[in-house]
Point group: C2
Chain length 318, copies 2
């Protein structure tokens, strides 16, 4: 019943500092940080706190060696404390967040974190319980095809975490049963499922950016995009009805990687104007690595910005 | 108004796992740990969590060197997080408590702490705000004469923390304005003020244990000690009306250091029987250091055990 209480409290509290909470869940190397980074920048770091909830480990790297599970297992994490901290942030309160140092594999000095107008929570487990889910206004699950995610993980862990490709692949195999049991089931609880992938059936030349598919479930109100989803922009993005994995009809927004950069940028600009935002679109949205940009990523980030502002307006009675 | 909400929630929640909360506040080296240790042992470590709230430092030892205040200053501590954790424990929830390592002066990996039937919170600041105070059922302030506390601090910090007497005295002088501003004002909010001191006007020989004076304020119900406060035990302990610092009449329990060990132990036994506790009185109550025992300390601890059990019975409707 705690999830009901937190829902009611969030609704009842007449507190304008109560943040809009967005969850971005997904498996290791599914693109959570990349998506979060541009999104936070688009909203503005003065208005937005972004935080990773993968630091609620019970054990450090050395301790885990003697244990039969990987960090993906619920029992490897203080899920109850994560839930508690999500509740506190959702009510506008500060927390003392645990910190896991990836470079040394140790748990270190915790960090004082205060919520802002928007709070983006990314991680492996943010949608893993009713209570955790009750803390969010919008929930996203990143769902790339497994072979693409594996490739991303090899690239990242070898480049930034000092592993060899063989080590990363062995680790992925070890984690697979726990991915299946603890991570992928969260897909079902997302308002938006985002999938970066090549379009099936098209033979796009190598180097074509991945397309994005955004399943927009009817669990929340989605922004009215009719002004931008015109025939002018159809090559870059269009909306289509399809069936969810369980058969439920749902809207699906397709953002095409094969569209020209010019078309995509016009659409980014059109959405930015829809948002009534000042200036031009932020420079870093769509950025994968310094110098590497994806227009489907930029458009996905903008749709999420749209959601954040929509929730914020609703809260303020606009 | 948060203090009202937490008070109401604690009263309304029909939750038998909600702990009895006891605060033991006092300045550095006022005897908090010594008092807490025997008390926790008397109740039984399986039923009792004791925790020090002096680990909510914002800064480590190196950082503090550049700052104009000592750990006694409110601004040197995450008082808001301490309040939050006290609320959570009072509602029967676990916390991830920050940890300050005294031996290295650094903030380290936090610790998962779950409340038990009894929670004893000792520290410098547990009664420093309305919200913190709202979390407790019984509150104690340790109030030894300053010259005795200074002596205790010199002894402890030289023996266990590697300081010289001169360093400790300089530190005490540095801390004095903050003791006055942040620590001593908490005395006013305690249900019980405990003072270990020689009895004024008596010329007891050197080596006589310190007496204890327990001011029992009418802010809570105190145990009915009429069965043990008989003429038989008058040499060891008696109750007297006196005036508080502000003139309010209040009860004061005097426990005499000059009573014979035999008399005191009989009284300990009588109180232990009053508590309907199994077996004999716990071996380690009254222990100051291994091999060094104080009967007034033992009796003070037993009075507090009495309070804990009284609160627990009240809660359970007995």
């Amino acid at each position: 019943m705690l999830d009901k209480i937190i829902k009611m409290t969030r609704r009842e509290t007449n507190n304008t500092t109560r943040p809009v909470m967005l969850a971005i869940a997904g498996d290791s190397a599914s693109g959570k940080s990349t998506l979060t980074k541009g999104l936070a920048e688009a909203v503005g770091s003065d208005r937005c706190l972004s935080m990773c909830v993968d630091d609620y480990h019970k054990f450090d790297r050395t301790e885990r060696k003697t244990l039969p599970f990987t960090p993906l297992h619920r029992d490897c994490n203080y899920i109850d404390i994560m839930e508690q901290h999500l509740q506190l942030l959702a009510l506008g309160r500060p927390i003392l967040k645990p910190v896991y140092d990836h470079s040394t594999g140790t748990l270190t000095r915790p960090e004082y974190v205060e919520p802002k107008e928007f709070v983006i929570i990314e991680g492996l487990h943010p949608l893993s319980s009713k209570l955790a889910r009750a803390c969010f206004d919008v929930t996203v699950f990143l769902d790339p095809p497994e072979e693409i995610r594996h490739e991303w993980k090899v690239q990242r862990d070898c480049a930034f975490r000092g592993y060899t490709p063989e080590q990363v692949r062995a680790d992925l195999e070890l984690r697979e049963p726990e991915s299946e049991k603890f991570i992928r089931p969260q897909r079902r609880f997302a308002d938006i499922v985002v999938r970066f992938a090549p379009i099936a059936g098209r033979e796009d030349p190598p180097g074509t950016p991945l397309s994005a598919e955004l399943m927009l479930r009817p669990t929340i109100q989605h922004p009215a995009l009719s002004n931008v989803l015109t025939d002018d922009h159809r090559t870059a993005m269009h909306l289509k009805i399809m069936r969810d994995k369980d058969g439920t009809p749902t809207d699906c927004l397709h953002v095409h990687g094969h569209a020209s950069s010019e078309e995509a940028r016009q659409l980014v600009k059109a959405i930015w104007e829809e948002l009534n935002a000042a200036g031009g679109p932020p420079e870093h949205i769509g950025q994968i690595n310094p110098g590497e940009r994806s227009e489907p990523l930029a458009l996905t980030q903008l749709i999420l910005v749209y959601h954040l502002l929509l929730q914020s307006n609703e809260r303020n009675g606009n």
